[in-house]
C-alpha cells in the first residue's frame, strides 16, 4: 500500500518537472526560414497527413526533402500521422499543405507539447516504473528512489520537452525490450525492441547486445533442442515485426531503397556539427574529415566501433546474464557514440538510458556519467535558450541521487566493482592501491571543469578568430570523460565474471 502512493508521488513529480520545462522555448523558435526540430515534427505531420504513403520519402514538388525531409523509419511517420489526425480535429491550419510552414502559436505549442507528454506517459514512464519494481535485492524505498532519479534525468527531459523530440517513445520501447528479455519473456522483449528500432534507427546502437544476449541464451539452452526452437521463434518475431512496420514500403524495391537512403545518409560525412565523439575531437588537431576520402572514413569508423565493442559482446554470448546484458548495453552504445558515423549529440541519450538502468548498482559512476551527458548537450541547450531549466533540473537530479544513494559513501573499490580488476593489477604492481582515491579526484576535476566551462560559455564571448571555441571545448572535455567511462565499463564487464563465478551466483 505504502509503495504505491510513493510511486505515484514520484511519477507526479516527474510529470510536473516535464511540464514546467515544456513551458520554455523550443528548437528553432521564431527563427525562419528553417526553424528547428519542432518545425520538423510539425512538417512531418503535414506531409504524412496530406500525401499518400508512396510519396512520404521521395522528393517531389509537394515534398521538398531539403526542408526537413523524413529521415526516421516508418513508425515515426505513423505516429506523426496519428498526431496529424488530432491536429486536423482541433485546427486544420496547423497541417495545411504548404501554407502551414513555420506555423507558430501558443495553442499549437500546447498541442505539440501535449503529444510528447502523452507519448511519454503511455510508453516510457510505465516502463521505468515497472523496471524499478522488478529490481531484485533492494528495498522498496530504494526502488522508489531509483525511479525518481531515472525520471528526473535532465538530458531526456530537456531534449524531449525543451528542444522538442520524441525520444521517450523509442527509449521507452527499448526499455520494454530490456524488461522483457531480462524477465525471460524473450519474444515480447524482442518485439518491443524491434518497434524501438522501427521508430528511430539509432536504436541499432543497442541491437548488438540484444542479439548477443539472446544468442547466448539460445546456446545455453542447447542448440540441438530448446535453444534452436527459441532461435527460430525469435527470428520469426523480428521478421514479422519488420514486415508489419514496413509493409507499405515493401511493395517496390525502389521504395525500400529510398527509405534506407534517407535513414542512413552515408553521403553526409563523418560527423556534422559539434559532437562529443572521437572524430570531432580529433578533428581539432588533424582535419581528418577533409583529408580522408569518404569510403576510408566509413571503413575506419566501422573498424574502430566494432573493435571496441567486440570483447564485451563475445563475453555476453558466452556468459549471458541480465547484469552483463545491461553493462554491455552501456559499453556498446558508448562505443557507437564515440566511434560511429554521423553521430548527433542527442545520441548520448542512447547511452544514458542503459546507465540509468545500472544506477542502483554503481550509483557514483552512473550519476557522474549522467551529469557529463547532460553537460555535453550544453551547446545545443544554449542555442534553444534552455539554460535555466537545464541548470535547475541538473541540480534537482544531482540532489535526488546524492540523497537516495548516498553516492559519496560508495566510492570504495568494492562499491565501484573494481575489486577484482585492482587485485589483478596488484599482482604486477603491488603499489596500485590508490584507485578509489584517484577516481574521486578525477570526479572532482571533472565537475569543476564542467562548472567552469558552463560559466565561461554563458558569461564570456568567444574570441573573434575562434567563434566555436566554447562548444569545441565542451565537446572535447565530454569526449575525454566518455573515453574514461568506456574503459571503466569495459573493465567491469571483463573482470566481473571472475569474481562472479567464484563468489556469487550468476543472476
Amino acid at each position: 500500500m505504502e509503495k504505491w502512493y510513493l510511486m505515484t508521488i514520484v511519477v507526479l513529480i516527474g510529470l510536473t518537472v516535464r511540464w514546467t520545462v515544456s513551458l520554455n522555448s523550443y528548437s528553432g523558435a521564431g527563427k525562419p526560414p528553417m526553424f528547428g526540430d519542432y518545425e520538423a515534427q510539425r512538417h512531418w505531420q503535414e506531409i504524412t497527413f496530406n500525401l499518400p504513403v508512396k510519396q512520404w520519402y521521395f522528393n517531389s514538388s509537394d515534398n521538398n526533402l531539403q526542408y526537413w525531409g523524413l529521415d526516421y523509419p516508418p513508425l515515426t511517420a505513423y505516429h506523426s500521422l496519428l498526431c496529424a489526425y488530432v491536429a486536423k480535429f482541433i485546427n486544420p491550419d496547423w497541417i495545411a499543405l504548404h501554407t502551414s510552414r513555420g506555423y507558430e502559436s501558443q495553442a499549437h505549442k500546447l498541442f505539440m507539447r501535449t503529444t510528447v507528454l502523452i507519448a511519454d506517459l503511455l510508453i516510457y514512464i510505465p516502463a521505468v516504473v515497472l523496471y524499478c519494481c522488478c529490481l531484485k535485492d533492494i528495498s522498496t524505498k530504494k526502488k522508489i528512489a531509483n525511479a525518481l532519479c531515472i525520471l528526473l534525468y535532465p538530458g531526456l527531459i530537456l531534449i524531449d520537452y525543451g528542444h522538442f523530440q520524441y525520444n521517450s517513445v523509442s527509449l521507452g520501447f527499448a526499455l520494454w525490450g530490456v524488461l522483457g528479455v531480462s524477465c525471460d519473456w524473450d519474444l515480447l522483449g524482442s518485439l518491443a525492441f524491434c518497434l524501438a528500432i522501427n521508430y528511430k534507427q539509432m536504436e541499432l546502437y543497442h541491437s548488438l547486445p540484444f542479439f548477443c544476449f539472446l544468442l547466448g541464451k539460445c546456446f545455453k539452452k542447447g542448440l540441438k533442442g530448446k535453444g534452436f526452437v527459441l532461435l527460430v521463434k525469435l527470428a520469426c518475431t523480428v521478421v514479422a515485426s519488420f514486415v508489419l512496420c514496413w509493409l507499405p514500403f515493401f511493395t517496390e524495391r525502389e521504395q525500400t531503397l529510398q527509405v534506407l537512403r534517407r535513414l542512413f545518409p552515408v553521403d553526409r560525412g563523418l560527423f556534422e556539427d559539434k559532437v562529443a565523439n572521437i572524430w570531432c575531437s580529433f578533428n581539432v588537431f588533424l582535419k581528418i574529415r577533409d583529408i580522408l576520402p569518404r569510403h576510408i572514413q566509413l571503413i575506419m569508423s566501422f573498424c574502430f566501433t566494432f573493435l571496441s565493442l567486440l570483447p564485451a559482446c563475445i563475453k555476453l554470448i558466452l556468459q549471458p546474464s541480465s547484469k552483463g546484458f545491461k553493462f554491455t548495453l552501456v559499453s556498446c552504445a558508448l562505443s557507437f557514440f564515440l566511434f560511429s558515423f554521423q553521430v548527433h549529440e542527442k545520441s548520448i541519450l542512447l547511452v544514458s538510458l542503459p546507465v540509468c538502468l545500472v544506477l542502483s548498482e554503481i550509483p557514483f559512476m552512473s550519476t557522474w556519467f549522467l551529469l557529463v551527458s547532460t553537460f555535453s548537450l550544453l551547446p545545443l541547450l544554449l542555442k534553444d535558450e534552455l539554460l535555466m531549466p537545464s541548470v535547475v533540473t541538473t541540480m534537482a537530479f544531482f540532489i535526488a541521487c546524492v540523497t537516495s544513494f548516498s553516492i559519496f559513501e560508495k566510492t570504495s573499490e568494492e562499491e565501484l566493482r573494481l575489486k577484482s580488476f585492482s587485485i589483478s593489477v596488484r599482482k604486477y604492481l603491488p603499489c596500485f592501491t590508490f584507485l578509489s582515491r584517484m577516481i574521486q579526484y578525477l570526479f572532482l576535476i571533472s565537475v569543476i571543469t564542467m562548472v567552469l566551462l558552463t560559466l565561461m560559455t554563458v558569461t564570456l564571448d568567444p574570441p573573434q578568430k575562434l567563434p566555436d571555441l566554447f562548444s569545441v571545448l565542451v565537446c572535447f572535455v565530454s569526449c575525454l570523460n566518455f573515453l574514461f567511462f568506456l574503459v571503466y565499463f569495459n573493465i567491469i564487464i571483463m573482470w566481473d565474471s571472475k569474481s562472479g563465478r567464484n563468489q556469487k551466483k550468476i543472476t
Binding site: 505504502e2 502512493y5 505515484t8 508521488i9 507526479l12 513529480i13 510529470l15 510536473t16 518537472v17 511540464w19 514546467t20 520545462v21 513551458l23 520554455n24 501558443q106 495553442a107 500546447l110 507528454l117 524505498k141 535555466m388 531549466p389 535547475v392 533540473t393 541540480m395 534537482a396 540532489i399 540523497t403
Partner: protein, 513 residues
C-alpha cells in the same frame, strides 16, 4: 533538512522558469530618482488599476527592491510604464520572491524544532518534523500564489510562522515584535490579531495560574504589559509616523480598507457569503419562475459578471460592511473566550489563531480566496500532532487549495495546477494517514465522498463546460459551482474545528504542553 530546503527552492525556480502571466506589484520608483516617498494620491500621477494598497512597511520593501531592480532593467521603474513586462523584469521579480523565501524556510525550520515526535518513527519520512516541513515548504497554495500568480506571501508567512515559533519557545517579546512588524507589512493579518492580543495578555502578562487553570488576578505584571505596549507602539510609530507627519493618514487608511469594493470579489471566495449569494440567486430564480418577483425590480448586472462593485441582493437582505464586522466578531468571540478561560499554552493559542483566521475568512468583507492560506499554514502545525486536527486540516486544505484553481486560468497552467494539487493532496493524505495509522480512520464515508467529488467537479468545470452551449449563456457557472462546493467544505471544517476547541477539556496543571 537542507535537502528539503534546496528541493523547495528548485521547485520554486522551476515554477519561475516559465513565462506565466504575473499580476504585477507595480514597483513605484520611490526614491529611485531621489524623491521622498509619495502616495499615489498625487494629482499628477494617473492611478493605474494596481495602486499600492498595503501598509507602509511593504512600500519601503518595494522601495528597496526598486533600488536593486535598476540593475536589471531601468524601464520597469518608469511610473508611466504600466503593464510593462520584459524577460529581465520577470527574472528579477521571480528571483526576488525566491530570495525572500529564505525567511520562510528559516521559519519552517524553527517551527519543526517546536514539534516533538511523540513516537520516533523508524525512518525519516515518517517523523512528524519531516511531514510538517514538507507540508509547509511544498504547500500548493503558497507555491501557486507566490510563484505563479505572483505575490510575496512566502516571507510574510515566514514572519508569522516565526512569531508563532517564538511563542512556542516562550520568547514572547520577540513573537510580539515580529507580529507587529508583520501587521505593518500586510494588514490582512489583523484577522488574527485578537488571538495574539488575548494570548499575550492572558498567558504572558498574568504570570501564573491557579491550580484549576483559571486566572490569578494578582499575578498581573505591569512591566510586561508596558513592554509589550512599547514594542507595538514603536513599530507602529516607525511605520505610520512619516504619514502622520505628512497628514496623509486618512488617505492611507482609505487605500488599506477599501469598503467601496463589493461584498464579494469577481470570483466569490468560498465563505459564508458565497453560500448566502448562491441561496439568494436560487431563490430569485425560483421567485421569477413562480412569478413572485417582478422582473423589472431585478438589477440588471448580476453579481457574478466580473467587476468589483457594490451590488444588491434580490431576495435576501443586503449585507453591509458593518453587518460583516459584527458577524465576524460574534464568530471570533467563543474562541477568544476559550483562550481566556481555558488557556492551554501555545497549542491553545494556535488553535484560536486558526479559528480567528477561519472565522474572518468566513464572514469578512471582500475576502480574497488567498486568505484561506492564513488558516491553512498555522493549522499544518496542529495537524501533525493530533489525529482529529489532521482530519480537519486535510478537509480544509484540500478544499481551500482547490478553491485557488480559478486564479490560474490559462491552458499551459492547467497541467501544472492539477499535477501540483495531486502531488500535495496525495502526499498530505497518505503521510498523515501513515502517521496516525494506529488511531481511527481520518475520514468518514461522507467526507471521503465529498473530497472525491472534487475530481468530477474539476473535469466538469474545465474540460466539459467550455464545450457546452451554457458557456455563452451562463459564463459564471463554473466559478459559482467551485465557490459553493468549496464553501460547503470550508464551513464544515470550521464548524468541526470549533466544536473540537469548545469541547476540549481544560488542561490540568499536570499536563505539559
Amino acid at each position: 533538512m537542507w535537502i528539503k530546503l534546496v528541493g523547495s527552492v528548485r521547485c520554486r525556480s522551476n515554477g519561475g522558469a516559465h513565462n506565466c502571466r504575473g499580476y504585477w506589484q507595480l514597483v513605484f520608483g520611490f526614491g529611485a530618482r531621489g524623491d521622498s516617498p509619495q502616495m499615489p494620491s498625487h494629482p499628477h500621477l494617473a492611478t493605474s488599476e494596481w495602486t499600492l494598497d498595503y501598509p507602509p512597511f511593504f512600500a519601503w520593501f518595494e522601495y528597496i527592491l526598486s533600488h536593486v531592480a535598476k540593475y536589471f532593467d531601468q524601464e520597469m521603474l518608469n511610473v508611466r510604464n504600466l503593464n510593462y513586462s520584459s524577460s529581465r523584469t520577470l527574472l528579477f521579480q521571480r528571483f526576488s520572491v525566491i530570495f525572500m523565501d529564505v525567511l520562510f524556510v528559516y521559519a519552517v525550520h524553527e517551527c519543526c524544532k517546536c514539534i516533538d515526535g511523540k513516537k520516533v518513527g523508524k525512518e525519516l519520512t515518517e517523523k512528524p518534523k519531516f511531514i510538517l516541513s514538507v507540508l509547509l515548504l511544498w504547500n500548493f497554495g503558497l507555491l501557486i500564489v507566490d510563484h505563479i500568480h505572483f505575490q510575496y506571501n512566502g516571507f510574510l508567512f515566514g514572519l508569522m510562522l516565526l512569531s508563532i515559533a517564538r511563542l512556542f519557545q516562550k520568547r514572547h517579546m520577540e513573537g510580539a515584535f515580529l507580529f507587529a512588524v508583520l501587521l505593518h507589512f500586510k494588514h490582512i493579518y489583523l484577522y488574527v490579531a485578537p488571538a495574539y492580543g488575548v494570548y499575550l495578555l492572558r498567558s504572558y502578562c498574568f504570570t501564573a495560574n491557579k491550580p484549576d487553570g483559571s486566572i490569578r488576578w494578582n499575578s498581573f505584571s505591569f512591566v510586561r504589559v508596558i513592554s509589550l505596549g512599547l514594542v507595538v507602539f514603536l513599530v507602529s510609530a516607525l511605520s505610520l509616523g512619516p504619514f502622520l507627519a505628512l497628514n496623509q493618514l486618512p488617505q492611507v487608511f482609505s487605500r488599506l480598507f477599501p469598503f467601496k469594493r463589493g461584498l464579494c470579489h469577481a470570483y466569490w471566495a468560498p465563505n459564508f457569503w458565497a453560500l448566502y449569494n448562491a441561496l439568494d440567486k436560487v431563490l430569485s430564480v425560483i421567485g421569477l419562475k413562480l412569478k413572485f418577483l417582478d422582473p423589472n425590480n431585478i438589477p440588471k448586472a448580476s453579481m457574478t459578471s466580473g467587476l468589483v462593485q457594490q451590488f444588491q441582493h434580490t431576495v435576501l437582505p443586503s449585507v453591509t460592511p458593518l453587518a460583516t464586522l459584527i458577524c465576524t466578531l460574534i464568530a471570533i468571540l467563543p474562541s477568544i473566550f476559550c483562550l481566556w478561560f481555558k488557556p492551554q499554552g501555545p497549542r491553545g493559542f494556535l488553535r484560536c489563531l486558526t479559528l480567528c483566521a477561519l472565522s474572518s475568512f468566513m464572514f469578512g468583507w471582500h475576502v480574497h480566496e488567498k486568505a484561506i492560506l492564513l488558516a491553512v499554514l498555522p493549522m499544518s502545525l496542529l495537524s501533525v500532532q493530533k489525529a482529529g486536527d489532521a482530519s480537519i486540516f486535510l478537509i480544509l486544505t484540500t478544499t481551500g487549495h482547490y478553491s485557488l484553481f480559478p486564479l490560474l486560468f490559462t491552458a499551459p497552467e492547467l497541467p501544472i495546477k492539477i499535477l501540483l494539487m495531486l502531488l500535495f493532496t496525495i502526499y498530505s493524505i497518505s503521510s498523515l494517514k501513515t502517521l496516525f495509522r494506529k488511531e481511527k480512520p481520518l475520514f468518514n464515508w461522507m467526507e471521503t465522498f465529498y473530497l472525491l467529488g472534487l475530481g468530477p467537479l474539476e473535469v466538469c468545470c474545465e474540460f466539459v463546460f467550455p464545450f457546452t452551449s451554457w458557456k455563452v449563456k451562463y459564463p459564471f457557472l463554473p466559478l459559482l459551482l467551485t465557490s459553493v462546493y468549496c464553501a460547503v467544505g470550508i464551513t464544515y471544517a470550521w464548524f468541526k474545528l470549533y466544536v473540537s476547541v469548545l469541547i476540549d477539556p481544560p488542561v490540568g496543571k499536570t499536563k505539559k504542553q
